[in-house]
Subunit: 254 residues, 2 copies
């Protein structure tokens, strides 16, 4: 097991090792990497050392590894996610300044929404995911709006698999979720209360790109019962920002 | 050459392929990847396909590849660079709002400054590097302040290698640069005019972390002759922001 016979499996192992590092577990020993990835200990240690030699991981005090600067650089300098986040950020800042709530931008990746940017509000309601974090599409407003405006085939496939629930407040019946998605598509925004946290409301709108296709979801996370949410003020602010992002994407040719 | 015999060389090749993608060349065909990396064409095509299977690259129209969402996600979710950038961003925004100039944050990586965040000002002076871009330490104010406040051994090694020049206005004599670094260390900020662009001034201060060590350089890029630069107003704004970043790093335990 010391060396992998094919390039394919090295890539796969390196991917598994990198996936073991998260916002919560950002420092891991070789032994922890082995435990989290299921790789043989000697293999995990050897690969981690190899990755550290190239700056993909870095060795820090206590024999821990962290994700390396080199990997961040390689991933960031031509990243479409970073481009989108940077384009959206000023408009997200406008919403944030006006509403003093968490603002987040997400894209679809498989059955999940991947958060590419977030502006957080100290003291606002607690939220589950951070930047580069993931949530099931049907449990967050940002995900729902992306699912509702995405390809029909993707929706159908999504509805065919079991629908998980965290709080018991989100739909687990595919027919109910299908009707919700239809309503979201017609009204142009999604609202969910209590799907992830009992006292939290998420509100999101689609962000369109150069063409008419939806490239991201833009959402606010607020306290359930927030008067601004009831009055439609948040939806209006989100639509305004989404329009600004689209205009900038068009102007810059992205 | 179809398969690499050891894990080491697969990692190295994957690193070379990823390094071929830049902000300017963000879409590459398999053939272009081969040309830019020097890998045999068949190897480049095969590795690109393997990387695409794992989402490290993505296939887009015209047979081009782009850096994939998966790689961005792996690199971002526990990234210290992203943490630092996110901590610094509000303070960089304050400078940006006050001065309407480019503001950038960089860290040392070898003989270069790696930019981890930038807030750009439309219509301000053109600048060379973008986020995840690099500049030689002695050619940018952010790099100079990092070099001046870094370990003595690093400075000495830096001064022993040839000092490149872009405009002919930067020091190429190591004794001159050594004196400049001493002055920067004493006065606590760096100013350079014309080292990268003839009509551009860079001004930067060190950002300290939890301890007293310098963890980043914070700089503004402005027009040469900017009255705010002459009056010391930019240096003062930068010191204020650097202090805020340090306080936040301490409060959040990073």
């Amino acid at each position: 097991m010391a060396n992998s016979p094919t390039g394919e499996s090295v890539l796969e192992r390196v991917d598994r090792i990198l996936a073991a590092f998260t916002a919560e577990d950002s420092r891991l020993t070789g032994g922890q990497i082995a435990a989290l990835t299921g790789l043989p200990t000697a293999t995990a240690h050897r690969l981690a050392r190899d990755m550290a030699r190239r700056g993909w991981l870095e060795r820090v005090e206590g024999g821990h590894y962290v994700v390396g600067t080199r990997l961040w650089e390689l991933a960031s300098r031509s990243s479409r996610e970073l481009d989108l986040a940077r384009t959206a950020r000023p408009f997200m800042g406008d919403i944030h300044a006006a509403l003093r709530q968490h603002v987040q931008l997400g894209i679809v990746d498989g059955r999940e929404v991947l958060l590419v940017e977030r502006l957080s509000q100290p003291g606002a309601v607690p939220v589950r995911a951070s930047v580069a974090g993931r949530l099931p599409l049907h449990l967050s407003a940002t995900g729902l709006v992306l699912l509702a405006h995405g390809p029909r085939e993707h929706q159908q496939a999504y509805l065919e698999a079991p629908l998980s629930s965290v709080t018991g407040l989100s739909p687990t019946d595919p027919a109910v979720l299908a009707a919700d998605l239809e309503r979201i598509r017609v009204q142009g925004h999604a609202v969910q209360t209590g799907y992830l946290e009992p006292d939290t409301t998420g509100i999101a709108v689609p962000v369109r790109g150069r063409g008419d296709q939806v490239v991201a979801g833009l959402g606010v996370v607020t306290r359930a019962g927030d008067p601004a949410a009831r009055a439609g003020a948040i939806v209006q602010a989100l639509h305004t920002a989404a329009h600004g992002i689209r205009r900038t994407l068009r102007e810059t040719g992205r």
